[in-house]
Amino acid sequence: MGTRKLVSVVDDDEFVREALPDLLRSYGLEALPFGSAEDFLASEHLGRTGCLILDVSMPGMSGPDLQIELAERKINIPIVFITANTDSLGWEVPPSGTVACLTKPFSDAAILEAVNSALEMQGHLE
């Protein structure tokens, strides 16, 4: 396991921001919610984040936009996309750093597995 263990949740839905960190904490993980991609990029927790749970569709900067922004800043954070839409994300092969794409609603097992995979991947990258 790497040094960056913080799981950052970026979603415009306040109920998801409330529920998901509580679940992760009940499994002993450190989690913080962010209401938008811009908030996350501006926070001091950016460097501590070892896994990013990212909503796809958001007002302003969307999930994929944030992924591109991070890649441009050479910040490698494994990302777990979550989306309420059944629509395609627009790519056939997910960009590198994409761990999973979960369709809402998802089970706690599925999210935990994805988060753990991400943290593990992050640890390997370290």
């Binding site: 109920f15 679940l23 627009g90």
Partner: protein, 804 residues
């Protein structure tokens, strides 16, 4: 004048006439006897030898004075008798003047002057010494001798003259009869009238009765009486000669025109005795009057003829009709002015049958020759032919017949009318009528004319067809009413009322045909009064059944599509609602998971678990709210799967979007495959896709101004048991790298037209187990969107896919 000259001839006195320049014209018998000259010898200057040479100069002087002054002159002159002795005469020169007063002739009368010198000479011979007695005796003897000699001489002269006179009277009488000229003399003082035989005849007096002046006056025509009296009164007052023309009324009532010339006898200066000649000029007058009236008549006839000729020429010009005569015996052809104009020939051209034949249209030459032959044979001709003149064709009609009364010379007269204009108008009219009939048939529009006064209704052929009535059968209002749909009869009655009130009408009504089907008609009529002020109703009736049915079908489709459009936008909404439902579900599941996790732990945190459980309930309610809203929106049952003819669906869409395409100045080309298999699916959804593709293409071409905006829609049946439809535009096109992103839900949120995106279109096509893709045009600007759907798939396959 003739009779005056003859008078000179026969007068016993010595008298002769001469021209003013001194040429003797005619000498009387007395003069010729005395001088012993033959008339030929006396003529011209010949008479001068009969005048003593010493006296001739003075005579010519008086002669000139007489001619110059116009008044009589006198001169004494010695004349040589036939025995060579000279005798003194008094010559009286009487000038005869014409109406202008110029002297035209001189009449010279000779009177003998007793010769004293002869007696004196004889006395001298007897001796101066003879006594008075002797002288007296001698003188008496001489006187007796002289008297005897004179008497003897006078007697012989008288005898000779009597014979002469008788002869002369005979001649005179004959001459008078022949010339219808009578003579008379009148002694004014005694009113003694002497009339010649012929004069009695002219005046129709009884030759046995003496004639008085009173009797003469009674004969004078009342209108001329005043003039007659006035002329005489004036002449008598001055003692001058006079001429006059007057009329006499005979006892029978006949009127005679007479001309008299009267001269006072100058030999009797102390008495007023007139002699005159009267000529009966009635025949002349009548001839003259006849001539005058003939002349006037001729002039009038000539005027009439000229006027008639002008009228005919004008009439010919107005009616474009020329005339001709043809003399077969001389092959002589005469043309009127107008005929030259019709043939466009110079009027000086000599016309021959061959010349005309050369101008006749080649196709009409046989007919022309047949007509000429017929005319020669005496047939009446009436035929139409064409001529070619100055490069253009004229239609002519010729009629003609032989003039029977022309006798042995067969004359043919005829008229040729230029009927080009009426022929052309006739053709145009015929063509116009044919065109109208055709137009009526094509537009299924019949026309009618209704004479409200007589009740007569006339229908065009097409109207009979529309009503399915027997062509040309009698039309009555009752018969029409029998066909009109029961619900529309009140409208028809209203129309009839308006027609009688002279008002125009426009109605839509239906008629029921014998087969039970219904026809929709559009009726428009205008009322007017014809030239006889009769009220008439003219109108058209158009069969608009197909249009009406199409409109009804169109309305149905439109309302279906409008509903579908709502359903579609609900579909879009549904996607976002699904998104919204998934959000509370996500937190619900997560909260429930946390709750379980908390309760399962070694030290269950009940308080936290309760919070989670409460959040769960809250999230569930939030989700159910979303679903309830969704259900409320989907009120309509979705259309069942059916067989869909993609061509028909396409045509409907094109019809629906016609106005949009038109206003965007887009040219549509539809190439729809024949025998396209039907597919199973949701017709309305598929039409939504087609419409969406058409509207997208339209949007793509909106900014195109440098080329034609072409939209080509093609249906085809592919090899893989697929039916496909493509919409190709000539718009801005797509980048090949971005083609797939067009179908991205995020990419295609632009909402125009029906507000559905390509993503939903693709979902629909996918729901029909088909594919939807886009590609830039390889051979030009623009892009082509195509979908294909398998046509043999079971309907069940499409069912769940439609729940987009």
């Amino acid at each position: 004048m003739e009779h005056e000259l003859s008078l000179v001839h026969v007068l016993p006195r010595m008298v002769w006439t001469a021209s003013p320049n001194g040429h003797a014209e005619c000498a009387g018998a007395g003069w010729l006897d005395f001088t012993g000259l033959a008339p030929e010898a006396a003529a011209g200057d010949g008479w001068r030898c009969a005048v003593h040479s010493d006296d001739i100069g003075a005579l010519l002087g008086v002669w000139r004075a007489t001619v110059d002054s116009g008044s009589p002159g006198e001169i004494g002159a010695r004349m040589r008798r036939n025995d060579g002795t000279y005798h003194r005469f008094l010559l009286r020169l009487c000038p005869l003047t014409d109406t202008t007063g110029a002297v035209v002739r001189l009449c010279i009368l000779h009177s003998l002057i007793p010769d004293r010198s002869t007696a004196a000479t004889r006395a001298d011979e007897c001796g101066l010494d003879t006594n008075i007695e002797d002288i007296k005796r001698a003188d008496a003897d001489l006187r007796a001798h002289r008297l005897a000699a004179e008497r003897a001489q006078a007697d012989s002269v008288l005898i000779a003259r009597e014979a002469e006179l008788r002869r002369a009277n005979q001649y005179l009488s004959i001459a008078q009869r022949l010339s219808h000229t009578g003579s008379y003399s009148r002694d004014v003082a005694t009113d003694e009238q002497t009339l010649s035989e012929e004069m009695y005849r002219i005046c129709e007096f009884d030759p046995k009765e003496p004639v008085t002046h009173e009797m003469v006056l009674n004969r004078i025509h009342p209108e001329d009486l005043e003039m007659f009296k006035e002329m005489q009164r004036r002449a008598l007052a001055s003692g001058s000669d006079f001429d006059m023309t007057y009329r006499m009324v005979m006892p029978s009532g006949a009127v005679k025109h007479l001309r008299s010339s009267s001269q006072r006898l100058t030999e009797l200066p102390d008495r007023l005795v007139y002699v005159g000649a009267t000529q009966d000029i009635t025949q002349w007058k009548l001839a003259e009057a006849a001539l005058r009236s003939n002349e006037a008549e001729l002039r009038r006839a000539n005027d009439d003829l000229l006027r008639a000729y002008r009228h005919i020429a004008e009439a010919q010009r107005l009616s474009n009709t020329g005339s001709f005569t043809l003399d077969f015996s001389k092959n002589d052809l005469y043309w009127s002015e107008e005929l030259y104009r019709i043939f466009e020939l110079d009027p000086s051209t000599t016309i021959t049958l061959d010349l005309v034949k050369g101008m006749v249209h080649p196709e009409d030459v046989p007919a022309y020759l047949a007509a000429v032959e017929g005319a020669a044979a005496g047939l009446t001709i009436d035929f139409a032919y064409r001529i070619v003149t100055n490069g253009h064709i004229k239609h002519l009609r010729a009629v003609g017949h032989r003039i029977e009364h022309a006798g042995d010379r067969p004359m043919f007269v005829g008229a040729v009318q230029d009927v080009t204009e009426s022929r052309l108008a006739e053709n145009a009219l015929r063509q116009g009528e044919a065109l109208l009939t055709q137009a009526e048939a094509v537009s299924e529009t019949g026309s009618f004319l209704w004479d409200l006064e007589s009740g007569d209704i006339r229908w065009s052929d097409e109207l009979y067809r529309i009503f399915e009535f027997e062509p040309h059968s009698l039309i009555t209002l009752a018969r029409i009413a029998g066909s009109v749909h029961p619900d529309d009869r009140s409208a028809m009655e209203e129309m009839i009322g308006r027609a009688h009130a002279g008002l125009d009408s426009e109605y839509f009504h239906r008629i029921c045909l014998s087969g039970g089907s219904v026809r929709y008609l559009h009726f428009v009529a205008r009322s007017f009064r014809d030239e006889a002020r009769q009220l008439r109703y003219l109108g058209t009736v158009q069969n608009i059944t197909e249009r009406t049915l199409a409109e009804e079908a169109f309305d149905r489709v439109r309302s279906e599509l409008a509903h579908a459009a709502r359903a579609m936008s609900l579909g879009v909404l549904t996607a976002s609602i699904a998104h919204e439902v998934n959000q509370p579900l996500t937190s619900l599941v997560t909260n429930a998971g946390t709750c379980i996790r908390v309760l399962k732990g070694p030290e269950p945190d009940v308080q936290l678990a309760l919070t989670m459980a409460q959040r769960t309930i809250r999230d569930a309610n939030r989700a159910s709210d979303v679903i309830r809203r969704l259900r409320a929106m989907f009120s309509r049952k979705r259309a069942a799967t059916e067989e869909v003819d993609l061509n028909e669906a396409t045509r409907e869409v094109l019809a629906l979007s016609g106005s949009t395409l038109q206003s965007a100045r887009i040219v549509i080309r539809a190439r729809l495959a024949e025998d396209l298999p039907k597919i199973r699916g949701d017709r309305v959804q598929l039409q939504q896709v087609i419409l969406n593709l058409v509207l997208n293409a339209t949007d793509a071409m909106r900014s195109v101004n440098d080329r034609r905006r072409h939209l080509t829609i093609v249906t085809s049946c592919g090899g893989r048991r697929e039916v496909s439809l493509s919409v190709r535009d000539s718009g801005t096109g797509v980048e090949s790298g971005n083609v797939e992103r067009l179908f991205d839900a995020f990419y295609t949120t632009k909402s125009e037209g029906m507000g559905i995106g390509l993503s939903i279109s693709r979902s629909i096509i996918q729901g029909h187990a088909g594919r939807l893709w886009a590609a830039p045009n390889g051979d030009g600007p623009g892009a082509t969107f195509t979908f294909s759907i398998p046509w043999d798939l079971a309907a069940s396959n499409t069912e769940d896919a439609k729940e987009v």
